[in-house]
């Protein structure tokens, strides 16, 4: 098991290298550079700036340099936020994104699984159709529509009532400031998880072993919880890997709408500003998380399905 774990982590190194290399050169393919402004800088100043950040060197040399620094844990300085290193920016933004993402993930599981399970157990009933309609709506309406709508309802229409909620800002993590972004972030995931849970549980309830459990005379509740539920969760866990990465690395849309200083916003701004090092830093963070969480998902499989053993 530990041998498997360390082998997987070892395999992650070349994967990360490929991601870093691809991101590095793709970034440079985009026109413009970090110091372009509406009013062009005098060529001398531009040349000095480029020299200061090493951008006057050949591209392959910049690449080698970047990799060298990376190996020493140095993500480099931000080109735009001049007093900060990329590590510092991630250090500021990532905890906020993690908190929101974890809360949204928790909410999505807490609501999505029971909703999907209920729909599966009352298959084709009114409750099932209602739940799945809501879920479908949650999936098809993009969160850049839901976000402003929630802001409109809770920030403007209900502003005189006790339901009024702040619609922007982090306010050092005050609870009311977190509610709308977390709900907005969780909604599509609630919907997906509910749908996956429903489909998977319906399938599991049709298996021969559930029939055996029923033939034993076990109450239906126990048949579902003890015999069907664990197997039914396998597709949900599969989905959770990528979903968690998305939630933890912050939704740029939601962080922008609600004005949260999370890492997703840095990513968008970094890309727009051609802040090469910042974008690279966030990309590497996200790629590492994908690798790590997929590993956790694989470990979760072993718990859900005893046939899966890692040696």
């Amino acid at each position: 098991m530990w041998a498997y774990f360390s082998r997987r982590l070892f395999i992650a190194i070349p994967t990360l290298w490929v991601v870093i290399t691809a991101a590095f050169f793709l970034m440079r393919l985009a026109p413009g550079g970090p110091f372009d402004q509406e009013a062009p800088l005098p060529p001398e100043i531009m040349a000095n700036l480029k020299a200061a950040y090493g951008l006057d060197q050949p591209l392959w040399w910049q690449y080698v340099n970047y990799l060298g620094n990376l190996l020493q844990g140095d993500f480099g300085p931000s080109f735009k936020y001049k007093d900060f290193s990329v590590t510092e920016l991630i250090g500021q933004g990532f905890p906020i994104s993690i908190q929101n993402g974890a809360a949204a993930l928790f909410l999505a599981l807490l609501v999505g699984i029971p909703l999907g399970a209920m729909a599966a157990l009352k298959q084709n009933s009114g409750a099932d159709h209602a739940a799945m309609t809501v879920a479908m709506t949650g999936i098809v309406i993009p969160n850049f529509v839901v976000g402003p709508l929630l802001a409109l309802i809770f920030g403007i229409w209900l502003r005189e009532t006790i339901f009024a909620l702040p619609v922007a800002g982090w306010n050092n993590g005050a609870l009311p400031n977190r509610i709308l972004p977390v709900i907005c972030l969780a909604l599509p995931f609630i919907a997906y998880i509910a749908r996956i849970t429903r489909a998977s549980l319906i399938e599991t309830l049709r298996t021969n072993y559930v029939r055996t459990a029923r033939a034993k005379g076990l109450p239906f509740r126990i048949v579902v919880l003890r015999h069907a539920f664990k197997s039914a969760m396998i597709p949900v866990v599969t989905y959770l890997g990528p979903a968690t990465v998305f939630l933890l690395t912050g939704s740029m849309v939601i962080e922008t709408i609600f004005g949260l200083p999370g890492i997703g916003r840095y990513f968008v701004q970094g890309a727009l500003n051609r802040d090469y090092t910042l974008v690279m830093g966030v990309t590497i963070l996200a790629a590492s998380l994908v690798i790590l969480l997929n590993l956790f998902v694989d470990l979760a499989y072993a718990w859900l399905d005893p046939k899966v053993r890692y040696e």
Binding site: R214, K216, G217, L218, H227, P306
Partner: protein, 323 residues
């Protein structure tokens, strides 16, 4: 002797997008304590569904009409809660496919003991001890170690033994074995049949053996009922049925069984295909495949009647070519 399980005029139909399909029609059967009834028929003849109805395990689109009485308790009108007090406790079922019929993420011991814990309220230790005894009883080697194994760690034959052990946990009055050997290797089949014989001899339960394999019936059953297209076409003692079948379909089935005594080039078959349940032939459902068919068979349906030899058949043909 009184019958433990009596099925009376049972019909089972399934609602499909193309209309209702009747899988079982007017079936009446009974089994006595200590007796083994063999129920024979091709795939789709309704033999499994007859007893799925008894267990309350029909698919959601299935409905059953008639009466199924377990010692006076009508199983068809019982609600789920009432059914759960008898399923596993007084009537148990052994399923066809041992590879998929055990819960993959639960240890064997727990899958056995939960039956006792549910029905007899024993504690976990007692449940585990009784599970161990039961695994010994169905001759599973190294039973102690198997208790903590998962189903995928056992072979198909061992898994079927576990299925049988689960069915025996509460020593039920009726055991329904639905094609218990179909999914297994021939050598393993023989072992499982030996085990079922042993169960029959020791337990005194009524056993229903559902199979398409006449050899299995000959070895194990006391009585046999033959189903075709949802109806019983012949019923009688195993000795009589094998010696002198009274329905042409049974005769055909017996002719299909390869024999070691007679040298033959090709395997006998019954010509034609089993009928589509949605468009059954008029009259006797078997008439398009019957070697003795005559006019009456095509318009009128024969009822199950006793013959002078004490057997029952649903057939107009009486040995001499009529019409």
């Amino acid at each position: 002797m009184t019958s433990v399980l009596a099925i009376d005029n049972l019909s089972v139909s399934f609602a499909t997008p193309d209309g209702d399909v009747e899988a079982v029609t007017d079936v009446s059967l009974s089994v006595e304590a200590g007796e083994c009834l063999g129920l024979v028929g091709e795939s789709g003849s309704g033999k499994s569904q007859t007893f799925m109805a008894a267990m309350g395990l029909l698919a959601e689109n299935g409905t059953a009409n008639g009466h199924i009485s377990l010692d006076g308790l009508d199983l068809l009108s019982a609600d789920e809660k009432k059914l759960n007090t008898v399923r596993g406790e007084r009537i148990a079922m052994i399923f066809q496919d041992p590879m998929t019929s055990l819960t993959p993420h639960m240890k064997i011991g727990r899958q056995l003991s939960e039956v006792l814990i549910e029905h007899q309220g024993v504690d976990k230790e007692t449940g585990r001890r009784r599970a161990l005894e039961m695994l010994d009883r169905v001759h599973i080697p190294e039973a102690e170690r198997r208790l903590d194994m998962y189903p995928h760690e056992l072979s198909g034959g061992l898994r079927q033994r576990v299925m049988i052990a689960i069915a025996l946990m509460c020593e039920p009055e009726v055991i329904i074995a639905d094609e218990p050997t179909t999914a297994l290797d021939v050598t393993v089949q023989a072992q499982i049949l030996d085990l079922l014989m042993e169960v029959k001899a020791n337990l005194g339960a009524a056993i229903v053996l559902i199979t398409h394999d006449l050899g299995v019936v000959a070895g194990l059953a006391d009585r046999v009922a033959v189903m075709y297209a949802g109806r019983i076409v012949e019923q009688g003692s195993v000795a009589d049925t094998f010696a002198s079948p009274v329905h042409p379909y049974t005769q055909g089935l017996l002719d299909c069984t390869p024999s070691l005594d007679v040298e033959t080039e090709a395997l006998e078959t019954i010509s034609g295909q089993p009928p589509n349940l949605q468009s059954l032939p008029t009259g006797c459902s078997f008439h398009p495949r019957c070697p003795h068919v005559f006019d009456r068979c095509q318009t009128e349906r024969p009822l199950l009647e006793r013959t002078p030899s004490g057997q029952s058949k649903a057939c107009f043909y009486n040995g001499a070519e009529a019409g």
